[in-house]
């Protein structure tokens, strides 16, 4: 067996480089030294051509061990094999995998040559060609301003068109354009632009974003930025940023600009803003109070009006009924009277006078004596003196 002429320790079932307990420093070190010093991925290569190596290396090892007549030939063989292995490794190192969310840019001697899409690819290995992968589909986020987003941090303060100050924070979502061909007028497709045209990708997004949001906010008024104009501000900022980034040929696409806040700049100003909202509430409250008053008072008045009307109608009913009753009574009496006027008249008179005089104090005074008597009458019994006169007059 080829390896049995070594120190003899290697069992018949083991290859010369099989994993095994420590072996003496001599032995077949020379033989597998070339293989062992290679990086781990050599292992696969070795497996593929194990048989050939098995045959070749022990001889090399023998050569190192004791020399022999066939040494030069064997040495050339092993050199060739080592060379082949190196070349093979070199070739294999050209394989690369592009993940689903990536694109790779292949350069030949540093010069852009192609874009490869997801999958397994091969390029002429270094130093001739190189492939750089870059994530393109996933969004990247840049917060403007950096920092904690506390109110009043200088980074977010900016002047509005009506010379107020507003505290703005926004998030920019961006990615690399996924086109694999260069746009008209550009030498490189977007991913390559991203790699080769700028050296400060997140920074360029940030600085351009800061400049753009200030430009947009500076064109608009505070109320607009804070309320109905948010969407428009976002869109204008996005457009401005995109314009600049295209001008710089960065290959960056701004997917979205989110205005996270557009707030008053300090707590004091914020309190004043909140007070305006409170004032609106107050206004509504007081108006509602007034409405409630109106809603209570007006129906009540209508009720009272109804009462007045009903009172009048009652009066009408009462008065007319009374009048008709009296009239009817008079009619009856008149009819009776007309049948026997003299008697009836006499009777009515007497009956009435009887009834009227019945309970009264009565003093009968002779006409002739009257003038003399009257002054002596006790006055306290004559309270109703004026009434005496009418009764008796003929």
């Amino acid at each position: 067996m080829p390896w049995s002429d070594n120190s003899g320790k290697g069992g018949p079932t083991r290859g010369p480089w099989g994993q095994q307990p420590p072996r003496p420093p001599g032995g077949n070190n020379n033989g597998n030294g070339g293989g062992r010093s290679e990086p781990p991925d050599l292992e696969e290569l070795l497996k593929a051509s194990r048989q050939r190596l098995k045959r070749a290396f022990p001889r090399g090892g023998g050569n190192g061990g004791g020399g022999g007549p066939g040494a030069p030939r064997l040495s050339r063989n092993s050199l060739a094999l080592a060379g082949a292995a190196v070349v093979g490794l070199w070739v294999v190192s050209g394989f690369y995998q592009v993940d689903a969310d990536e694109l790779a840019v292949v350069t030949t001697f540093g010069k852009y040559s192609a874009i490869t899409s997801p999958g397994l690819h091969w390029h002429v290995p270094m130093p001739v060609q190189n492939a750089r992968r870059e994530k393109v589909t996933s969004l990247r986020y840049t917060n403007i301003p950096e920092g904690t987003g506390r109110r009043g941090e200088a980074g977010g303060l900016m002047l509005t068109g009506d010379k107020n100050i507003v505290d703005v924070a926004m998030q920019v979502q961006w990615r690399i354009k996924t086109d694999t061909v260069a746009e008209q007028g550009d030498a490189l497709p977007p991913v390559a632009q991203f790699m080769f045209n700028i050296n400060d990708a997140p920074n360029v997004v940030r600085t351009v974003g800061e400049a753009s949001i200030r430009e947009v906010v500076g064109r608009n008024e505070l109320d607009f930025v804070q309320t109905e104009g948010r969407t428009e501000v976002q869109e204008q900022t996005r457009a401005l940023m995109q314009e600049a980034l295209d001008l710089y040929k960065t290959g960056i696409e701004i997917a979205e600009v989110n205005l996270e806040k557009a707030d008053p700049p300090t707590d004091e100003v914020n309190a004043a803003f909140l007070d305006v909202i409170a004032a609106s509430q107050d206004r509504n409250t007081i108006i509602n109070g007034a409405r409630a008053y109106a809603n209570r008072v007006v129906p009540e008045a209508r009720g009272q009006a109804q009462r007045i009307l009903e009172g009048a109608r009652a009066y009408q009913a009462q008065v007319t009924a009374d009048a008709r009753g009296q009239a009817a009574r008079f009619d009856s009496i008149l009819a009776e009277y007309q049948r026997a006027p003299q008697v009836t008249r006499q009777r009515m008179y007497l009956e009435t006078v009887e009834q009227v005089l019945g309970p009264m104090n009565k003093i009968i005074v002779e006409d002739k004596a009257g003038g003399g008597v009257v002054p002596y009458l006790p006055l306290n019994e004559l309270q109703k003196k004026p009434q005496q006169q009418p009764t008796g007059s003929k």
Binding site: P72, T107, F109, G110, K111, K163, N164, I165, I198, D200, T207, V208, E210, A211, R214, E215, L247, Y248, P264, T266, V269, A272, D275, A279, S280, R283, I286, I287, A290, Y293, A294, V297, A301, Q304, I308, L309, G311, Y315, Q316, A323, R324, Q326, A327, A328, D331, R345, Q355, L357, M360, N361, K362, I364, V365, D367, E381, K384, Q387, Q388, G392, K394
Partner: protein, 291 residues
């Protein structure tokens, strides 16, 4: 013999390799290269790829050709209306003529320092000519273009293209900001007061309208009530007139009796009667004749 020739071949190969490696270099997409023969620029390469030079005698120098940022520190400018503004601007530039750039400033750091001082002057000059309002609002982009154009001219000797100039920030100095905050607060206070006053106004209006309605409704009711009462009285009179008109003399007799009855109902009246009265007509005289 064979071993010697083999060794010679090996040495030759190594020497060749060293020479080839020294005669070539890879120029990446991000850079331009200047080939210098004993320090003197001989070639300029601006496109990437495998480039050649004389071994040993020539060296090469990379010059970045990417779009780079020139970030100016915040400066305080005085606008034409004497207001102050803190301005933070940046420029994007590209080195388009590497040889010129190399000859004038050698390194990128030097170049940036030169450009920054030029930019500082340009920014101050351009923004000093206009008002704060123009910088902040209306003419911002036009001013940025103007700075870019002027700066482009002044850096022409550096082999640099100014791609863009942007005002990153243009803010008021702190003490002015405080004044703005105060103004914003007073504005809001005004607005709040106005809203509240409007609320009161509306409330008063609603209440007054309600009160007017109340008065109106009642007055209309009173009017109607009087009309009804009048009609009732009129009807009463008509009824009486119709009835009593049939015999006015009897009516006055009848009504007088009713009146006596009603007037002296209480019975606490004292009356002096003359024996001559109609009531006592038979009191002194049997046949009722008068004496």
């Amino acid at each position: 013999m064979r071993q010697a020739s083999l060794m010679f071949a090996g040495v030759l190969a190594v020497v060749l390799l060293v020479v080839v490696m020294n005669a070539t270099f890879i120029l990446p997409e991000t850079q331009s290269a200047i080939v210098l023969r004993f320090g003197e620029p001989k070639h300029v390469y601006t496109t990437a790829g495998l480039k050649f030079k004389l071994p040993i005698a020539e060296t090469y120098q990379f010059i970045d050709k990417r779009n780079r940022e020139l970030d100016q520190d915040e400066i305080e400018i005085i606008a034409s209306n004497q207001e102050r503004l803190r301005v933070d601007a940046f420029a994007r530039y590209r080195i388009v003529d590497p040889q010129l750039f190399y000859q004038s400033v050698r390194t990128e750091a030097n170049g940036e320092a030169r450009m920054l001082s030029l930019m500082n002057q340009t920014v101050r000059r351009v923004l000093g000519e206009v008002s704060v309002d123009a910088i902040v609002t209306s003419e911002r982009s036009a001013l940025m273009r103007r700075i870019r154009d002027l700066l482009s001219e002044s850096v022409r000797g550096l082999g640099v293209e100014i791609v863009d100039v942007k005002i990153r920030r243009a803010d008021l100095p702190t003490q002015n900001s405080q004044a703005v905050f105060q103004r914003m607060i007073t504005e809001r206070n005004q607005l709040a007061a106005q809203i509240r006053a409007e609320g009161n106004e509306a409330a008063q209006q609603i209440q007054a309208q309600a009160d007017r309605q109340v008065t109106e409704v009642k007055a209309q009711a009173e009017e109607e009530a009087q009309r009804i009462r009048g009609a009732a009285d009129a009807e009463r009179n008509a009824v009486f007139a119709a009835a009593y008109g049939k015999d006015p003399e009897f009516f006055s007799f009848y009504r007088s009796l009713l009146a006596y009855e009603a007037a002296m109902k209480n019975g606490d009246t004292t009356i002096l009667l003359s024996p001559d009265s109609e009531f006592l007509r038979y009191f002194n005289s049997l046949d009722g004749r008068k004496k």
